[in-house]
Amino acid sequence: MSTHTSGWQKAGAWAAILFGATYFILPLVATFEFSLRMRRGEYSFDAYRSVFTDAQFQESFSYSILMAVLTIVIGMLLIVPTAYWVRLRLPQFRPVMEFVTLLPLVIPAIVIVFGYLRLYNSSSLIPFTGSARGTDILLMFSFMTLSLPYMYRSVDTAMRTIDVATLTEAAQSLGAPWRTILFRCIFPNVMSGVLSGAFITFAIVIGEFTMPSLLNRPAFGPYLQLIGANRAYEPPALAIIAFAITWLSVGLLQLLSRFNKARPPKP
C-alpha cells in the first residue's frame, strides 16, 4: 500500500475515533457535570454523598456484589471442569457446547425469566420462588446463564494455550487423582481466562435489571431504575458510579491479560 493512501486512511481513522469519542464522552461529561449541581449555584459532590449514605444503595449494592461473587465462583466451578472434560474426552461435542453456551445471547432475558417463573413457581415441583432464599438461588443461576457465553469462551480460549491432554497424562503418571489434576494443574493455567470471564460477569451482574426486577429481589439494577424514576441529581451520580465500576473491571482485565502475556504458558 502506498504512503499516500495510508496517510489518508490514517486521517480518516482518527476522524472516526474522534467522532466516536465525542459521541461517548460528551454525554458522559454532561452527566457528570449535572451530577455535581445538586447544591444551587456551585459544584459539589452532594449527590454522591446522598447516594452513598442511602441505606438502600448500600443494601442493593452489597447484595449485587455478593451475587456477582457467588455467580463467578459457582459458575467457574461448573464451567472449568466442563470445558476441560469436553476438550479432553468429548472433542466431538465442542460445536454443541459452543452452540449451547451462545443461546443466552440469542434468547432475551425476559423470555428466560418467564420460563423460570413458569417452571419454578411456588406451586411447581421445584418451588425456587417459594422463599426469598430460593429466589436468590434462582437469581444466581439466572446470572450464570446470562454470563455463560463470556465465561465459557474465555475459559475455553485459555485452555487452548495449554496441552490439556498431555498435562493430564503427565499428572496421572505421577499418581495424581482427578481433583488434584483439575485444581493444581489445569485451573492455575487457565486463571487468565477465569479472571477475564469473572470481570465480564461482574459487570453484567451489577447492571442487570430484568432478572432481579421480575424475580423481585433487591439488586442494584432495580434500585438504579427506582432512583432514576424519583430523583433528579442522584441518577447521574449513580450512572457515573456504575460506569466507573465497569471501567475498573475492564482496566483490571487489561492489566491481567498483559500480566498473562509476560508469562506465556508455553508447551
Binding site: 495449554i162 496441552d163 498431555t166 498435562l167 497424562e169 503427565a170 499428572a171 496421572q172 503418571s173 505421577l174 499418581g175 495424581a176 487423582p177 488434584t180 493444581r184 494443574c185 492455575p188 493455567n189 486463571m191 508469562r263 506465556p264 504458558p265 508455553k266 508447551p267
Partner: protein, 353 residues
C-alpha cells in the same frame, strides 16, 4: 522371571488393529528401545504400559503384579513426553516435587529428593525458574527428573529427543543413558531414529506394522537382521541378486564367482534366486586381508560426508553404496570410473522375506 512382561498384547481402535500379538520380556535395569517407522504402534504399546490405553487383549505384568486393570495413577510409572509437558504454572522445583507431594511425602523428604534429582540433571541453579524460561533441552531434563523423583518401577520415554536440535539430542541421550545406569531403572525408550536406538540400548525391538520383527542387541539387529524390513530399516542396505549353488555347503553364485557365506541357506534349493545384502562399510576399493570376493562396477556418484565418503556403484542391475574413510591424500572416485569392489563373503547376509 522378567521384571516387565507383555504377553500377547493386542490393540484395536475401532475396526483397525494397530498392535498384533506383541510379546516381550524385559529384565530389571534393562534399557529397551522400540524402533520403527511412524504409525507402527510404538506409542500405543508405551501408552498401554503406562495405563493410558487398555489392551484389547493380553496382559501387562510388572514385578509379578498384573497391571492390566490398574489406572495410570496407580501404576507408579515414570513417563517423559516428546513435548516435555512440564506444568507451566510451577517452578522447576515444584514440577519435580509434584509426584512426591501427591504421594503425601513429608516436606523434608521432598526437599531432599528434589535436590538430589536436580543434582542428577545438573540444574540445581535453575530450581526457581519457570518452564518458559528454559531451553528445550533443559525442560526435557526437568521432565526426566520429575518422572524419576517418585522412584517409579519403570521409566517410559516417548521420542523425548525429537523436538531438540541435533547436538543436544546426542548429548542428552548419553545423559539419559548415564542416569539410567546410575539408578538401574528399567527403561523403555521409543524412537524412530536408528542411530539413537543403536547407540544407547541394551536391546532393541524393531517394530513393523504393529508387530515386533526382531528383538535383539544393537549388534545382533545390525549385523544379523532377521527380516528384510529390519535389514532395510536399520542402516543402509545393498541388495545383490545371487543364485543358490549348494545349500548344504552354504555356497552361492554371484556372477562368475562361487562364494561361501556364513548365513545358513536352509530351506532353499540349488539354482533358486536369493537376495544377499552387504553393509556399506563392509566393502573397499582395494583388496584387504579379509576380502575374498570382488565385483566390478561403475561409479554413479560420490558424496563427501566428512569422516567418510559414500560412493554409489552400479553393479549389474542394482545400485550399491559403500563407505570409505576420508583420505585427504586421495580424490574420491569420479562418476563413470570403472572400479572393482572387494569384500569378504562372510559379510554377506541372506535376506528372507
Amino acid at each position: 522371571m522378567s521384571f516387565l512382561e507383555l504377553s500377547a498384547i493386542k490393540k484395536s481402535f475401532g475396526p483397525v488393529q494397530v498392535v498384533h500379538d506383541f510379546n516381550m520380556a524385559i529384565d530389571k535395569g534393562e534399557f529397551i528401545s522400540f524402533l520403527g517407522p511412524s504409525g507402527c504402534g510404538k506409542t500405543t504399546i508405551l501408552r498401554m504400559i503406562a495405563g493410558f490405553e487398555t489392551p484389547t487383549d493380553g496382559t501387562i505384568v510388572i514385578n509379578g503384579r498384573d497391571q492390566t486393570a490398574l489406572k495410570p495413577n496407580q501404576r507408579n510409572i515414570g513417563m517423559v513426553f516428546q513435548a516435555y509437558a512440564l506444568f507451566p504454572n510451577m517452578t522447576v522445583f515444584e514440577n519435580v516435587a509434584f509426584g512426591l507431594k501427591v504421594a503425601g511425602k513429608p516436606r523434608a523428604e521432598i526437599e531432599a529428593r528434589v535436590k538430589e534429582m536436580l543434582a542428577l540433571i545438573h540444574l540445581e541453579h535453575l530450581a526457581e525458574r519457570y518452564p518458559y524460561q528454559m531451553s528445550g533441552g533443559q525442560q526435557q531434563r526437568v521432565a526426566l527428573a520429575r518422572a524419576l523423583a517418585p522412584k517409579p518401577q519403570v521409566l517410559l520415554l516417548d521420542e523425548p529427543l525429537s523436538a531438540l536440535d541435533a547436538k543436544i539430542r546426542v548429548s542428552l541421550r548419553e545423559e539419559i543413558r548415564l542416569i539410567q545406569r546410575q539408578l538401574g531403572i528399567t527403561t523403555v525408550f521409543v524412537t524412530h531414529d536408528q542411530e539413537e536406538a543403536l547407540s544407547i540400548s541394551d536391546r532393541i525391538v524393531v517394530m513393523n506394522a504393529g508387530r515386533a520383527d526382531q528383538i535383539g542387541t544393537p549388534s545382533e539387529i545390525y549385523n544379523r537382521p532377521a527380516t528384510r524390513f529390519v535389514a532395510s530399516f536399520v542402516g543402509t542396505l545393498n541388495l545383490i541378486e545371487a543364485q543358490v549353488e549348494d545349500p548344504d555347503a552354504r555356497r552361492i553364485r554371484m556372477g562368475e564367482q562361487s562364494l561361501a557365506i556364513q548365513d545358513p541357506l536352509s530351506g532353499l534349493k540349488g539354482g533358486e534366486r536369493v537376495s544377499v545384502a552387504l553393509r556399506p562399510e563392509a566393502a573397499t576399493l582395494s583388496p584387504t586381508d579379509r576380502s575374498d570376493a570382488a565385483i566390478p562396477g561403475e561409479v554413479v556418484s560420490s558424496h563427501f560426508l566428512g569422516s567418510v565418503v559414500r560412493t554409489k556403484l552400479k553393479v549389474g542391475e542394482s545400485t550399491i553404496s559403500f563407505d570409505m574413510f576420508n583420505d585427504p591424500g586421495r580424490t574420491p572416485p569420479a562418476p563413470g570410473e570403472q572400479v572393482t569392489l572387494h569384500f569378504a563373503s562372510r559379510d554377506l547376509l541372506v535376506i528372507r522375506d
